[in-house]
Amino acid sequence: MLAPILRNEWRLLRADRTLHLVAALLAILVAYGVYNGSAWVRFQSNALDSAAGEEAGRLAAMKTAIADVEAGRSNPPAFADPRSPSAAGRSLGTRWASMPPTPLAALAIGQSDLYPYYFRVSTQSRLSFAQNDEIEHPVHLLSGRFDLAFVVLFLYPLVILGLSYNMISAEKESGTLAVTLSQPIALRTLAFGKILTRFLLVALLGVALPAAGVLLSGADLSAEGAGMRLLLWIAVVVAYGAFWFAVAALVNAAGASSPANAIALAGLWLLFVVLTPAIVNGGAKLLHPVPSRVEMIQAMRDAGRQAAAQRSELLAAYLEDHPEFTVSRDGAMADFATIGIVTAQATERAMQPVLERFEKQLDAQQALVDRYRFLSPAILAQAALNDIAGTGVHRYRHFQQLADAFHERWRQYFIPRVMKREVLAPPDVDQFPAWTFEEESLAAVLSRTAASLAGLIVLSVLCFAGAAVALNRYRVAG
């Protein structure tokens, strides 16, 4: 019985002129979104390439400069001596820590325009180098970007609702519902057929959108994990579409007129996509306010002053802990660079609890959002899509952790050399710690996405079940 319904519905949908128009419009929006995403990824890749080129050039020039000083061809002042491990670790020999975009990054710009994705790691405090914000008109950050994720989160539900807001009510209003049901067919079967046809269309869109995205952006699917990420993206888009579709079915089953359905669905869209996220965001900030960066800057200044005032005590304490540095090559007392390192470390120790407060509050905000994201499928989908595209907050955290570990390694390499007043030779330059970005494990992405995906599926099933129950009480005529 189902097959004729499907065939008939499909014929009706195909004959609908507006549907063709909507499909064309959607294609244009998708193309524009993917074009923007790819342009942004290209911009990021170019910036990373230039940074890598700059690093290679600078290190090669450093080798030549060291050779020149060794051969007596130049005689720079002490603070700019390329042979000095202090100058090398602080500026001349530093390396870029960078996070390359994932193969699917063009599909969701996410938080990648807000957080730094490359910075130069030096022996100085992390606060001095990790704030390498990309240049962007702040109004663009405020508006958000027009990428495929935007099309999926905001516009794709509208297409689905436009397709299905009157799928049953229209037949009732034109009187064909009673006629059809005079045949030996149950309302539920008919409704199921209508729902299934449209759902197949929605699922097709759900596959087509990401697939078009990948094709248009020229993403490299042979890259590690790319196929898996694409499958996850598709799963989230289909599940998100299924939710909106289930909501439309539920509203239709409630039995109101087509205009009333349209208004109710527009209201639900507004509630889930615009209002709930804004309220969850406001609530998170109200309940777990992040301390002020203005106060952090003050704390940093105070800690720096404190450390500077006690620098002789700090130095004595440090040398007590590290007796191997006490007697240096020429037996002289520690110099400027040593004092700098010791006070910087004391400042950082004092700042540690302040910075931890930021992380703690931000974690609390994130936990609250994670808990209440089930209130809005849009939040669920946004978190998942960003995560899969590698532009969500988790991958940035991962990058920060790698950068912190690298920073530590960098210091462990240079600080003892500064203390022992070693002199660098050209081959030493190749021995400087090198940065490699180790991709976040796909299993972690999978487990986080699975929760969002499960949330979307549960919400959809609930709505469909509600629709099935309500259909039992549906008044076919009158």
Partner: protein, 473 residues
């Protein structure tokens, strides 16, 4: 006659459950948003006030040191909150909160508040501006989509017109009725806002910001008139209520959600800004080799030496009556300043050009015009951010001039290291910033205001015309 129609519309609306619900929800959201904004602004103002005193104290009590060390220690400039930022936070969360004013560098503002938020922030924040720009127009649409089409479908339009009623009067009456109902929503919020300002801790805030309040209120009124006009016109012209509603919802979505994002990306494509890496790198190269890349640091040093020797009519640096170190440092600052001015003015020009793209698109989406005006009058747009950034940079340069001038003048008078103390530090005046007035804002926002007024006028005319020429059944 017009007033009778307006009264009828008003009465009908206030008795309508839809309107009651919509207005309750929007009022609650508006009040909550304004309250949150108010509280946030007071918090930030307190922190900034304290930080401003603290950084001044730090500067004065930094102890005995060389003036150039003091210049390196520097001060922080904290971005102040503007009186109306509680209505519209604008770009404030998306630019840094403070800039370190130190020797040799014009530092960017660091620590964007948005970086200390979750990704949900990207859906948009609940602020007064969001409610006014996004939600109130939706209420207007819901109230008016059936204004004519409903009457036509019920057949009452023919009856009404048979009474000899002029059609434009009907349109005007309906518009006034809806406006009156909306007034119920907006007027209390506006009054509460003005009252809150009047009671705020800053004396004379209301008087000082009267122009800004007026500008912001007028901008939003024009915006609402535009939406009202478009809605009435569509309601008169659409074949059915359903078509009117769908058309207006589509317009609302394109205007409020699609256009701002489309404008952001289009502006980036048309006028690309450099990457942070490229910007810093080019600036570094220019520091060494000049803006045109045709000089070396050695050449500049030699030229300065020669010029100074000639000015003091001596042949050796040792014979100078002044300290050459101080002169060299100041010359370095001035060289760097020309480069900062060159690169930042380039960057800010690019940003301004990007804004022209936003403005051009405002011809299709009035929200882009009202957003710009609202941020402008709230003092939270990018233009006013750069106004503050320039003032801070000017102050940084003044510190350098004073420190290097002192070093040049007195650096030679002592044997051994030259140290200074609070006597010199206190010669640096405290950093004060005066925000530009409403007239200044208006001069930067003229085109947006003209566009928005054009929108309002065109929409009103369209409603008038559509009402006059609409089908009766």
């Amino acid at each position: 006659m017009i007033s009778i129609i307006a009264r009828k519309e008003f009465l009908e609306m206030t008795r309508d459950g839809r309107f009651r619900w919509a207005s309750v929800i929007v009022s609650v959201l508006l009040l909550a948003a304004l309250l949150l904004g108010w509280q946030h602004q007071n918090d930030v103002r307190r922190q900034h006030e304290q930080a401003r005193r603290h950084t001044r104290q730090d500067w004065l009590t930094q102890g005995r040191k060389n003036p150039h060390s003091a210049a390196h220690y520097g001060v922080y400039a904290f971005k102040p909150t503007m009186p109306l930022s509680w209505v519209d936070r604008g770009v404030d969360p998306w630019v840094g909160v403070a800039s370190w004013l130190e020797a040799h560098h014009q530092n960017d503002f660091q620590y964007r508040q948005a970086q200390d938020s979750t990704a949900v922030q990207r859906f948009g924040e609940l602020t007064g501006a969001t409610v006014l720009q996004l939600l109130l127009p939706l209420v207007i649409v819901l109230l008016t989509f059936g204004a004519f089409s409903d009457e036509r479908e019920r057949g009452t339009l023919r009856q009404l017109l048979s009474l000899g009623l002029r059609r434009p009067d009907l349109a005007l009456g309906k518009a006034l009725g809806v406006a009156g109902a909306l007034g119920f929503l907006i007027v209390p919020a506006t009054l509460a806002g003005v009252l809150a300002l009047a009671l705020s801790e800053q004396n004379g805030a209301l008087l000082a910001d009267g122009g800004r309040i007026l500008g912001m209120t007028s901008s939003y009124l024009l915006y609402f008139v535009a939406f009202l006009g478009v809605s009435l016109a569509v309601s008169a012209k659409a074949p059915s209520s359903r078509a009117a509603l769908l058309t207006l919802l589509a317009f609302w979505i394109v205007n409020g959600l699609v256009a701002p994002r489309a404008a952001a990306d289009l502006a980036r494509l048309v006028y690309p800004a450099p990457s942070a890496f490229e910007f810093a790198n080019k600036m570094d190269a220019a520091m060494k080799h000049g803006i045109h890349g045709d000089e070396t640091p050695e050449q500049r040093a030699a030229a300065l030496r020669e010029e100074v020797l000639r000015r003091y009519n001596v042949s050796r640096l040792e014979d100078l009556p002044v300290d050459f170190g101080g002169i060299r440092l100041q010359a370095g600052e001035e060289h760097a300043n020309t480069i900062f001015d060159h690169f930042y003015s380039d960057l800010w020009t690019t940003f301004r050009r990007q804004e022209t793209v936003h403005r051009t698109l405002a011809a299709f989406a009035p929200v882009l015009a009202v957003r710009s005006l609202s941020m402008g009058f709230a003092g939270t747009d990018f233009t006013q951010h750069t106004h503050f950034a320039k003032a801070a940079e000017e102050y940084r340069r003044e510190i350098q001039r004073l420190m290097n001038g002192d070093l040049a003048e007195h650096g030679k008078t002592v044997q051994g290291p030259y140290l200074q103390d609070e006597a010199l530090w206190s010669k640096v005046p405290e950093f004060t910033y005066e925000a530009p007035d409403a007239g200044w804002v208006l001069s930067h926002q003229a085109s947006s205001l003209v566009l928005l007024a054009a929108w309002a006028a065109a929409a009103a005319a369209a409603a008038w015309r559509a009402a006059a020429t609409q089908r009766v059944d």
